[in-house]
Symmetry: none
Subunit: 212 residues, 4 copies
């Protein structure tokens, strides 16, 4: 029973790695099994179907992301919303770049899997996002974040930028640092220079975006 546990874990790791790099459709069970010196059908001893295996990976990805993120935040419980947000970004970023492949697999595959399958992940995804929304709401309330942003929307944009960095692999340590640097910079302070005041942009065209 111990061996079974280990094999199952190995299969999940192998699957996570392939899913992260090749996506859902290009990852065959034979490929996954091959990575751990087994043959495709053997995986059916551990998982009822390909989708169950993938679901386990993506679920693990969502869990790991949430845990790494909340752990990062727990280091400074008295932080204000903006600080919590920064900690969350760092935590999730680390989950993407310094951990196993499950987070990246989730990022890559969440929208590639069949929709009925995604349905089963939705609640976990939702509660993951809710953490971000709550952080932002906190920041809006304590005045550390702008008061004209909606948590639902802001959180998605932040996550989109974060998730993008998952595509960039095999980068030097400096590059990873630079990514984190820019990410935090954009999310927190934007790219406009400090002495150039910028409000939230109106969406109509005829109004100039920024007043200087």
């Amino acid at each position: 029973m111990r061996k079974a546990e280990r094999t199952r874990k190995a299969a999940l790791d192998a699957a996570a790695n392939l899913l992260a790099d090749q996506g859902y459709h290009r990852t065959s069970l034979e490929d996954v099994a091959g990575k751990i010196e087994m043959r495709g059908p053997s995986l059916y001893y551990y998982f009822a179907s390909k989708d169950e295996l993938v679901e386990a990976v993506l679920t693990a990805g969502l869990d790991e992301a949430r845990e790494t993120m909340t752990a990062a935040m727990a280091a400074n419980p008295s932080a204000n919303g903006a600080e919590m947000l920064a900690a969350a970004v760092r935590g999730y970023f680390r989950s993407i770049h310094h951990k196993s492949d499950v987070t990246r697999a989730n990022i890559r595959c969440y929208y590639e899997v069949p929709s009925d399958f995604r349905q089963r992940l939705r609640s976990k995804m939702r509660s993951f996002i809710e953490i971000w929304e709550e952080i932002i709401e906190t920041g809006v309330n304590d005045g550390s974040l702008r008061n004209d942003i909606e948590p639902a929307m802001a959180s998605r944009l932040i996550l989109a930028a974060l998730n993008y960095t998952a595509q960039r692999r095999n980068q030097s340590a400096t590059d990873v640092e630079s990514m984190e640097h820019h990410l935090l910079g954009m999310v927190l302070g934007g790219f406009v220079a400090e002495d150039v005041p910028v409000g939230f942009a109106p969406s109509t065209d005829d109004v100039p975006l920024m007043r200087s």
Copy 2:
């Protein structure tokens, strides 16, 4: 002659729509043909292969995105870098949300197609990105954008957030406006409140992210 042109266009539209919503692998030729009341093999009258069809869609997506974006920028030729950036964001955003599905198809499928196929799109994609890099470089040089950002990295993060919004369809007009609003807000000024100073974040953990 005219009918062929129309049918070909219809096929491209149908393909763009399915590719944007279902991705490369779930979009079969039978599906595409079905959308325009035809059968799968009929498409071979217009395209030599599935990949040629898809390539036509993605290419159109890259072209449309660039054109819409540059057109938006052309409205204000004397803009500084930050203003150009804002205009570019708006232009590309419009290409995603107010136009045909080709831009969304490109966003969704660019990384799903086989790599030798993607190779053929790479130059177009590169020149698209270079426009963004140049905008940012301009802004850095004219002082309207922060001087500690690298165009290559910043442009990718901005595009990641923009591309994300392509997933959100069937939203109310208000939602789309809100998306654009938040997008510009984040990219330009970040989410931290104005009176809370925030520098670019150092990547070491023990240094507090922001100084207030």
Copy 3:
């Protein structure tokens, strides 16, 4: 009506050429039509189906072969069987190498076409072969050919060697001459040196093939 006749002929020529070089299955109607600056379906104005077109070519091939061969024989009506055979070989050889492609098309495709189709050619093929059988019978009777050969079998072997030469194209004139030379040499006198007597070989192994 004259133009139609010419077009039909051109299609037959084009088909013959392609059938001879690529065989029945690799020759598509689009290919044939393309050779005469037309599109595939246009051929249906002249032929009810691909097989009817091919049948016309193969029939023409059998006719041409027969005619060229009999013409060659007619030059020397008083010839004995062996001389007739030589003339026939030369005539057929010429039909293969110095004429249009219909003979080669027939040689290449006769056994590639569907069997029910071949059925329709069989009588013509049979009467073609019968000419050879009669020649040989004549030779056996007049003593100019060995008296231990069966016309049915001998004629097939001769034709097999002849037909083989159809594969060899783009050869120099000297090569074609050499082919004819060896062909006649083998068929008439065999390859064994003249002073080495050789009877017809018994098929049992333990009996030496030749007595010297």
Copy 4:
């Protein structure tokens, strides 16, 4: 492990049989699999593609032909060129008529398969033919074969006649014997009666073929 071996062999046999009788294009994987009570895709467990299966058959055909032929020659090592030639003819003839279908499959399909595929067989085919050329060269040198024949050309004509016999199946044993008889007769001594002298034919028309 044993069963796989048997099934693979059965598939090769089935393929050889169908390839020999129907040719490359009319032989579908479903047909081959059907012959051994399986379904088409199952063959992919044993062969990576149709062409790999066919290649295995044709390769086996070339090997069997060569082996059977050389074995026949080995029985009489002191034979002169003419005797070796006779032995080779008998050996190859036996490979065609008394063995499995692989030789016939090769004869039928070698020129039907795509040319890039044939390329892979070419070296084997070449070395097969070279054996024949060497036999003939030996015979020319030791005086047992005519000194005006070129090995390259003579060997092809002999093989053409031999290969032709592959088409004739379901013949009585007597017929097969008769085929071999005539084959050797033609190749070695030709069909002209013994007392009728016949030189190698000049290719010009105005010179009588034979002098009697």
